[in-house]
Symmetry: C2
Subunit: 204 residues, 2 copies
DNA sequence: GTCTATATCCCGATAGAC
DNA sequence: GTCTATCGGGATATAGAC
């Protein structure tokens, strides 16, 4: 049982302790690899208690997923003022920081995309990632309207490349940092800054 | 039991049928979620037979992983002649096609990076992905030497962004195709072409 | 809301015949 | 090289007391 689970238990919030333990375990190992016994142990409750609160293992997973989505959405609310290009920069930078601040929640969402992206692609697109993606595309469009970005570029593609670079560092950073020539990846801020510069200025 | 597993069995190649079934299952569901019973069923052999050939479930997984790495490496050998920029373009395009041609093998490798990228990062970097990454960086350097790419850009970063965009489409394509504004992602060739153009010309 | 005890099932691995 | 039968353990889920 970890510290904050212990605190939650002391306050009588059994479900909170369970949710926290489950999020950590599911995000690290995936749904199938985690047993209720593990969750119960880490949360400091019994297996039966989990079933009592969430009905089944899948019910617990859905509750955990819902929580992670809400938390990630809430984090993305705040958007600084300023020039479009600078807002795009800060939004992307902040977003990457949030991923590293809340790795469990983001890993869980990414796992969901990887695992069920084919069958539940439409559902995930509309309910989970659609809003924040639309916001990013709108930011790029604002940059075009303000004359800071070329009209010819596809705002959707620009947004995708930005997200791809963020996600890739988050997922593969542990491997990238050991590749000769990939030293930029060792500092997320510097990495994202370099990506933005490359995208804006171009390689040619 | 699928068709090619049936064919392999008919030829007396039990191990081949097992490896093929195991690669499909491991790449779809991950190591822990797959049972020997599933593998045995899909390969048309008994559980005991698998243990007899590979010693344990982990032994089977390692054999599958080794096969996937070898196959992916072999596919990347051939490199067309021509101008550096065109070679970079065709290399990236071909690589993406290969991912979609052999999704099981690539999904398996990506899973390995995501799951064990933290602990085994150095090992994966040197033994699995190091060589092909170095080749990509070298291609970018050649472009710089030929004067087709600016000296200021970091070849490693350029390579990472290219890989990130490839991997992201491969992983999240099922979700991306349903996002308004992300229509480019519906054709891998067109997508990769658009990414290259954006990277070369820049957005500003 | 939390527990213990238990039912039922499936897991990986072994033993040994053919 | 392949099989059947089985062991020991851990999985999810249920029943019912406190």
């Amino acid at each position: 049982m970890n510290q904050s689970a212990r605190q939650a238990l002391r306050r009588g919030e059994g479900t909170a302790a369970i949710l926290e333990a489950a999020e950590a375990l599911f995000s690290e190992q995936g749904f199938d690899a985690v047993s209720l016994r593990q969750v119960a142990e880490q949360a400091g409750v019994s297996k039966a208690n989990i079933i009592h609160h969430f009905g089944s293992k899948e019910g617990l997973y859905i509750a955990v997923l819902r929580g992670a989505v809400e938390r990630c959405d809430a984090l993305l609310e705040s958007l600084e003022e300023g020039e479009p290009l600078e807002r795009l920069r800060s939004y992307t930078r902040e977003n990457l920081r949030q991923m590293f601040d809340q790795p469990e929640a983001y890993r869980l969402l990414l796992r969901e995309v990887l695992e069920h992206g084919q069958e539940r692609g439409r559902e995930l697109a509309t309910r989970v990632v659609g809003e924040s993606f639309a916001r990013l595309v709108a930011l790029v469009r604002e940059g075009q309207d303000a004359g800071a970005l070329r009209r010819e570029i596809d705002p959707g593609l620009m947004a995708i490349v930005l997200v791809a670079c963020k996600v890739f560092l988050f997922q593969a950073g542990g491997v990238l940092r050991h590749l000769p020539g990939a030293e930029v990846t060792q500092d997320p801020d510097r990495y994202m800054e370099a990506v933005m510069t490359l995208l804006l200025e171009g390689a040619r």
